[in-house]
Every structure is written in structure tokens, then in C-alpha cells.
């Protein structure tokens, strides 16, 4: 009965990985799948913000999260981590970037390290959903440009209308 909780032993990600892996169908089979993931992961570490199909982006996301969190937990001295990094990262200079840039950046993060935005689809074009995958804390300007300023005229008007609606609604019950 004194069994330790497994959740405490395994490095827990702050990102929900799908219960079933996506197959990312291709001619080479499972090997081709990992090649695809290697390529995407490498490019993501290199450019920090990439645009691609939702399937591939979301699948890679789990691998990137896992790799960075392992690197933070065990550091560059650990053999398994180095092997892992060596396998997944195709351009070897990025291994330095992983330990010297990403590890210090994400050390204090209490959220996931990556973010996905939905992209508009070309029309007419492929049906596949497009997304932008990025590493948080990148040097680019934010994609999200909507201002959520409550003092803009339309927001003031709408919030007052909402207040009035609620007051009316509650008056019925009193």
C-alpha cells in the first residue's frame, strides 16, 4: 500500500497530450512520422514562431514541451537528456540554444511553454485547419492585437447596457 504516487515520479507537463498519438500518415510509416516531428521541432526551436497545419503543430507541441521540461529538470550534464535532444534536434547548434536560451527563459514559468493560434484558411484551398505555433516569450510582436480596453466608447456603452439588463432582471425576483 505504500506505493508512491506515479504522478509525482513522472515529469508532469502543463499541456494535455492527446490519449492517442496522431499517426501523421505518410509513406515511410512510423519512421516518417518521427522524421516529420523532428523537422517541425527543429524549426520551432530555430524560428520560435511557425505556421503549419493543426495536426502536425499540436502533435509536435507535446514533444517540445517534454524536451524543454526534461532539459530544465535534469540540465545539460544528464546523458539521457542529451541523447533525447540529439535525436529530436536536427540542427545541432540548436542544442546550445536549448540549454543556454530556453532553459533560463522557461525556468520560472508555471504555464506551458508553447502557444497555438488559429489561422484563417485560404479560400479556396485545403480544408486542413491552419495554426500558428510559437514558443512563449519570443522576441516578435504579439499576434493578438485586440485591445481589451474597457474604456473604449463601445465597451462603456455595452457594459452599461448589460448592467441595466441585470438590474431589470433582478427586479422581477424582488
Amino acid at each position: 500500500m505504500n506505493q508512491a504516487k506515479i504522478a509525482n515520479l513522472v515529469c508532469q507537463l502543463r499541456y494535455n497530450v492527446l490519449p492517442k498519438p496522431r499517426k501523421l500518415k505518410n509513406v515511410k510509416g512510423p519512421e516518417g512520422r518521427s522524421i516529420k516531428l523532428q523537422k517541425t521541432l527543429t524549426k520551432l526551436l530555430k524560428y520560435e514562431r511557425i505556421e503549419l497545419n493543426l495536426n502536425r503543430a499540436d502533435e509536435t507541441r507535446g514533444y517540445v514541451e517534454q524536451l524543454i521540461s526534461q532539459a530544465i529538470r535534469n540540465g545539460c550534464q544528464n546523458k539521457t537528456v542529451m541523447e533525447l535532444a540529439n535525436f529530436w534536434i536536427l540542427e545541432k547548434q540548436l542544442i546550445y540554444k536549448l540549454f543556454n536560451v530556453f532553459v533560463p527563459r522557461y525556468k520560472s514559468y508555471c504555464t506551458s511553454f508553447t502557444r497555438i493560434y488559429n489561422c484563417p484558411r485560404d479560400y479556396p484551398g485545403s480544408y486542413r485547419k491552419k495554426v500558428v505555433l510559437e514558443l512563449k516569450g519570443n522576441p516578435y510582436p504579439s499576434i493578438y492585437t485586440h485591445s481589451s480596453d474597457g474604456n473604449l466608447l463601445q465597451n462603456v456603452l455595452l457594459s452599461e447596457a448589460k448592467k441595466q439588463y441585470h438590474i431589470k432582471h433582478y427586479e422581477k425576483f424582488i
Binding site: 485591445s147 480596453d149 474604456n151 473604449l152 466608447l153 463601445q154 456603452l157 452599461e160 447596457a161
Partner: protein
């Protein structure tokens, strides 16, 4: 002396107007409007001439994008923020709603008088100054006044009464007018026609001109309007004997300001309701409307909710004993006072 110049300039018009008002009422309102414009133009010319030798001031102009700072040499007491924006870009000129001169809200057409730091604000830059919304609402009231003045036939006796301090939270801007019609309830079509007239004003992108005049000139301009003539001495008292006038197109009204740069800043707009007020004056009607800045796209359902709300009677009253600053706190006090009443 000023009085002399003006009376000489407008004697002809005045005589003409008086004769007409004695005989028949046709076109009288139009004559008075023309007369007001002549006085306005003359007074502005006189003030320009009074500047005398032109001195230069250096204006640190911050672009609407907020990054670049440019040093401009402008004319003292002549150049306005609009002139500075003209040097910058078409964008700044078209979207510039209000400017900040050393952090103080400043009309786009108010001459600069000293070396200063100037920042031109668009309607989206509400974080920099909360006066933007109030200026916008006030301008809407002014345009509404112009709409009312130009929409009615000349045989109906009509006096613009006033518009209150801009209370955005009340959900509608308003303008009061005395109309010599008993129990008028506008039909849908009439409201739509009024809205169309309002939109005509906004589409023209008319500059909102500003002029500060002495009390006597203002009284002279509004001598035909018994309500304004009553209000002017009160207004002048609180502003050291001066009255601030604003003009769009041919319509001139009294307001404390500030207002936005031109009427094109106003986008989607509707005149939603006309209510008859219970007041001392007979047949005092309150016109209400709602508008959004141009470039703001609100879906028709949400806008419908706002329109529906703007149809209710707006109970904001004019309180001469208090001079409100354009802040949200004063908006809350007004709301609280209305609730108490």
C-alpha cells in the same frame, strides 16, 4: 468698438431679418443663422488681426504611432494642432480626434499659444486621455443640434435650448429644443429621416471650428433665442466673461468643449427617440441618439441593444452650479444624483 464693427457689418442683415419677422415668419431662422455666421466670421477675422506680428513657437509633435517625435516651428496664436497634423500625414489629420498639449486635452482647432509638447490622439487611444469619449459625445450633441435646426420647416417656430454635460454612461447623447408643436410624437419614418440628416452632417467631415467671444457678442448672436439669451450671462460668469462657440457648417452653438476635430470622426449613428419633457418651458422636446466612432464595427445585434437602450428617456439634467471635469468620477456623481431624484 468691436460692437461697432459688427453692427456695421451686419446692419443690413439685421434690418432685413427684422422686417421679415414683422411681416411673416418665412425663412427667419435661416436669416438668423446667416447673421450668426457673419458675426462669427468677422470676430474670427478680428481676432486673427489682433495677433499682430507673427511669432514662432517650437512644438514637439509626437506622432499618433507614438514612436517618433518631431520638432515643428509654428505660428504663435495662429497654428492649431490640425496644422501640425497636416505636416505629419493624412492619417493623423483624418483620424485625429483630440490633442494633448502638455497633457491637457486641447481642441484640434484651438490655436497654440506657447512652446509645448503636442500629441494627436485618435478615438482608439482612450488610455491616454479619458476626455476622448466626452469630447465625442459632446460633438454628437452639437451635430444633433445642427440636425434639428436644419430638419424642420421654416414655418415651425423652433429654438434650440441646450445640451447637457456629456454623460456617456446614460447610453444616449441628447439635445433639447423648444418646438411649437403640441404633443408631437415622431413616427419611425420621421426618426429615420432625422438620422439620415445626422449622417449627412457626419459624411461631410465638417471641421468643428472653435471661437471664444465676449459675452456681448454672444448675446447679440442669440438675441432672437430667449433661452440662450438667459443662459449666456450664467455661462459667461463661470468663464470670466467669455463664451466658447463651436461651429459646424453653418450651425453655431455654445459649449464648453473640448470637441473632436471634425464630424467625420462619427461613424454609425441613429437618432432613437424624441421625448416631451415636463418642464417650465412649454413644448420642450428632448432628442436622443446614439453613435459610434467611425471605424468601429459592432454587429447589428449588439448595436440594436444599444439603440433600444437609447430609446428610454435620458434623465440627465443640466446642473449650472457645478462645473464638471471630464472624468468618470464626475459621471458617477451625476448618475448617483439622478438616482436620488
Amino acid at each position: 468698438m468691436i460692437q461697432g464693427i459688427i453692427s456695421v457689418c451686419c446692419a443690413a442683415i439685421r434690418v432685413h431679418a427684422q422686417i421679415q419677422s414683422r411681416n411673416l415668419t418665412v425663412c427667419v431662422r435661416d436669416e438668423w443663422r446667416k447673421r450668426r455666421n457673419v458675426i462669427f466670421d468677422n470676430e474670427r477675422e478680428r481676432q486673427k488681426a489682433d495677433v499682430g506680428r507673427i511669432e514662432k513657437i517650437s512644438v514637439k509633435y509626437i506622432k499618433p504611432s507614438g514612436e517618433e517625435e518631431v520638432n515643428m516651428m509654428m505660428n504663435k496664436d495662429l497654428s492649431t494642432p490640425t496644422d501640425c497634423a497636416l505636416h505629419d500625414s493624412e492619417f493623423a489629420m483624418k483620424t485625429g480626434a483630440l490633442s494633448l498639449v502638455d497633457g491637457i486635452p486641447w481642441d484640434m482647432h484651438k490655436p497654440l499659444s506657447n512652446d509645448c509638447k503636442l500629441e494627436v490622439l485618435t478615438m482608439q487611444m482612450i488610455k491616454k486621455s479619458s476626455s476622448l469619449n466626452f469630447a465625442f459625445w459632446r460633438t454628437c450633441s452639437l451635430i444633433l443640434g445642427a440636425t434639428i435646426d436644419s430638419s424642420f420647416k421654416d414655418d415651425i417656430i423652433l429654438y434650440l435650448h441646450s445640451f447637457t454635460w456629456p454623460n456617456v454612461r446614460s447610453g444616449s447623447f441628447l439635445c433639447d429644443a423648444i418646438i411649437d408643436v403640441n404633443n408631437w410624437k415622431p413616427t419611425e419614418a420621421e426618426l429615420r429621416a432625422l438620422s439620415a440628416q445626422f449622417v449627412k452632417f457626419t459624411r461631410q467631415s465638417l471641421p468643428v471650428e472653435r471661437l471664444v467671444v465676449k459675452e456681448e457678442i454672444a448675446l447679440d448672436m442669440y438675441q432672437e433665442n430667449p433661452f440662450k439669451s438667459q443662459q449666456i450671462p450664467n455661462i459667461a460668469k463661470s468663464q470670466e466673461g467669455n463664451v466658447t462657440l463651436y461651429r459646424i457648417g453653418e450651425h453655431i452653438d455654445i459649449s464648453r468643449g473640448p470637441m473632436v476635430g471634425h464630424t467625420g470622426i462619427v461613424g454609425k449613428a441613429t437618432i432613437t427617440a424624441v421625448h416631451k419633457l415636463e418642464s417650465e418651458e412649454e413644448n420642450r422636446y428632448r432628442f436622443q441618439g446614439i453613435a459610434l466612432p467611425s471605424g468601429v464595427f459592432l454587429n447589428h445585434f449588439a448595436y440594436g441593444i444599444l439603440e433600444e437602450r437609447a430609446r428610454q428617456l435620458n434623465k440627465t439634467t443640466w446642473m449650472p452650479q457645478k462645473q464638471f471635469e471630464d472624468t468618470d468620477e464626475s459621471a458617477n456623481t451625476v448618475v448617483a444624483q439622478i438616482a436620488q431624484n
